[in-house]
């Protein structure tokens, strides 16, 4: 809010990192990352195994600190505010910046409860039935589960479970959804459904996705961050961040070129 109380227009970049470094104990996993994640766009993070993609993603909602000994240097700004200030509640951060993991991990509860639970804990006061339906619709799952909301979430197929996890993330009304290889455990049809769903979701949310699948990054994302190990090979960094079209048709960095054309390694 501004001083006179008028709401400010949302910042163009919902997340911005400044010289971000991430450490696991003494080990430096990520070095000097400066990226700006644009609102209502899909940004992909690609790169070889072990270059710090997931570590970077998890720094966007303070998920790394669930591991003891993790620390960050530099800054992560969310809507212009530093996420790592002592006054910031990491639980609140994770509501506003939700996450979907590689393997679908629904709670061993009903489909309905999977969506309702987080919202209830978060103090949701509205009409829960409407919320559950809205989230399941947004996750393109409603038509498949509307007649079996009381059944266990674990009884769904892998692709449906992953969409249930997305619906669950939406229930607490986040601004950003982080996706860590959300389709890597799914078959091609379920993968395409998730990809289609992402295009719908970006109208209302900002999505950051880590993927090993370059074609997936090329298909779904608007922006792509190319991560690589730094020259001394010990920690990862973003070597190029640009529109996805540029990264996959005329990247500026030779190492990006080698990676996207399959000549890396």
């Amino acid at each position: 809010m501004t001083q006179n109380g008028a709401p400010q227009p949302p910042l163009e970049h919902v997340i911005e990192t400044k010289e971000l470094g991430i450490f696991y104990g003494a080990f430096r996993a990520v070095t000097d990352v400066n990226v700006k994640i644009r609102r209502n766009k899909i940004s992909a993070i690609i790169g070889p195994s072990g270059c710090g993609k997931t570590t970077l993603l998890r720094a966007f909602n303070r998920m790394n600190e669930l591991l003891p000994g993790t620390r960050v240097e530099g800054k992560v700004l969310f809507d212009g505010q530093s996420l790592y200030e002592p006054s910031v509640d990491p639980v609140e951060v994770r509501y506003r910046i939700g996450m979907v993991f590689q393997r679908p991990n629904p709670f061993p509860k009903s489909i309905h409860e999977n969506v309702a639970w987080g919202a209830r804990i978060h103090g949701f006061q509205g009409n829960m039935e409407e919320l559950v339906e809205s989230c399941l619709r947004q996750a393109a799952l409603w038509d498949e589960v509307k007649d079996k909301l009381t059944q266990s979430g674990l009884a769904l197929s892998g692709g449906q479970q992953q969409r249930l996890c997305i619906a669950r993330a939406l229930a607490v009304q986040p601004e950003v959804i982080l996706m860590d290889e959300p389709a890597s455990a799914l078959d091609p049809i379920a993968t395409l459904k998730i990809e289609e769903l992402m295009q719908d979701l970006k109208q209302r949310y900002t999505i950051v996705i880590v993927t090993h699948n370059m074609q997936q990054a090329a298909r779904v994302s608007d922006y792509t961050a190319m991560m690589m190990l730094t020259e001394d090979d010990s920690s990862g960094t973003v070597i190029e961040f640009d529109e996805t079209n540029v990264i996959f048709t005329r990247p500026r960095n030779k190492r990006t070129e080698d990676y996207v054309t399959g000549r890396y390694g």
């Binding site: 996959f248 048709t249 005329r250 990006t256 070129e257 054309t261 399959g262 000549r263 890396y264 390694g265």
Partner: protein, 231 residues
């Protein structure tokens, strides 16, 4: 090296484009030579060669489609395959120009040439020489050469302009020569188009090597400047 197979398939595409190019080069030269000698049989053979060029173009196009579908090329590789698609289409059209010249010879039947051909074979040689070097630049991804070759289009345009003026003089002196003059004008026009399309090939080569997609120079400039000057 990762993707060794794909690497060799990419090289294979370049080789095939060069092969198609060399057939087109020879066909253009032969079409003009057949006209010069009024050799109708040779022109019949050009028509057959054009069908072979078309078939070869489809064959390469099919290979390109398969590579794009199965290898998911990115960055330079994607630019090479997409540009090759464009280049083979340019080559196929050049084959059509040679066919056009052959058809003119056939339609002329037993009528003699309006004049001995001097500048028309020069245009053909110049255009084919440019094409040959443009294809070499494509194969080597030689940006410098690709930028230099289109400038030579002015020479072809100047020859075209000269032929045009000469044929107009014939027509003015004796209007009954209109048809025969017109035939030669078509021939010259076809050759002028060959050189224009060389420029397109050079633009693609620059795109493959650098990712820069830009027109090198507008076509027809010199010819139309020449026409304006001639009043």
């Amino acid at each position: 090296m990762l993707r060794k197979t794909f690497e060799s398939e990419l090289q294979g595409v370049k080789d095939e484009v060069l092969r198609l190019g060399s057939i087109v080069e020879q066909t253009i030269l032969d079409s003009v030579s057949a006209l010069k000698k009024r050799d109708l049989k040779a022109s019949e053979q050009i028509l057959q060669r054009d069908r072979e060029i078309n078939a070869k173009r489809f064959e390469i196009e099919n290979t390109l489609m398969i590579l794009i579908a199965t290898q998911q090329p990115m960055a330079h590789d994607l630019r090479l395959l997409a540009s090759s698609m464009e280049i083979i289409s340019e080559l196929e059209r050049m084959g059509d120009y040679a066919k056009g010249i052959a058809n003119i010879n056939l339609r002329m039947g037993d009528q003699p040439l309006l004049k001995p051909l001097i500048d028309i074979p020069r245009m053909a040689e110049k255009g084919v020489d440019m094409l040959h070097r443009a294809l070499t630049a494509f194969a080597n991804e030689d940006v410098e050469a690709a930028r230099a070759i289109p400038v030579e289009d002015d020479e072809v345009d100047a020859l075209y302009n000269q032929i045009y003026r000469e044929l107009m003089t014939f027509i003015l002196q004796d209007p009954t020569t209109i048809e025969r003059a017109n035939w030669l004008l078509w021939v010259a026009h076809n050759l002028e188009r060959v050189a224009d399309r060389v420029t397109n090939i050079c633009e693609r080569t620059i795109f493959i090597a650098t990712g820069e997609m830009a027109e090198i120079k507008a076509t027809d400039d010199e010819f139309w400047k020449g026409r304006k000057a001639a009043g």
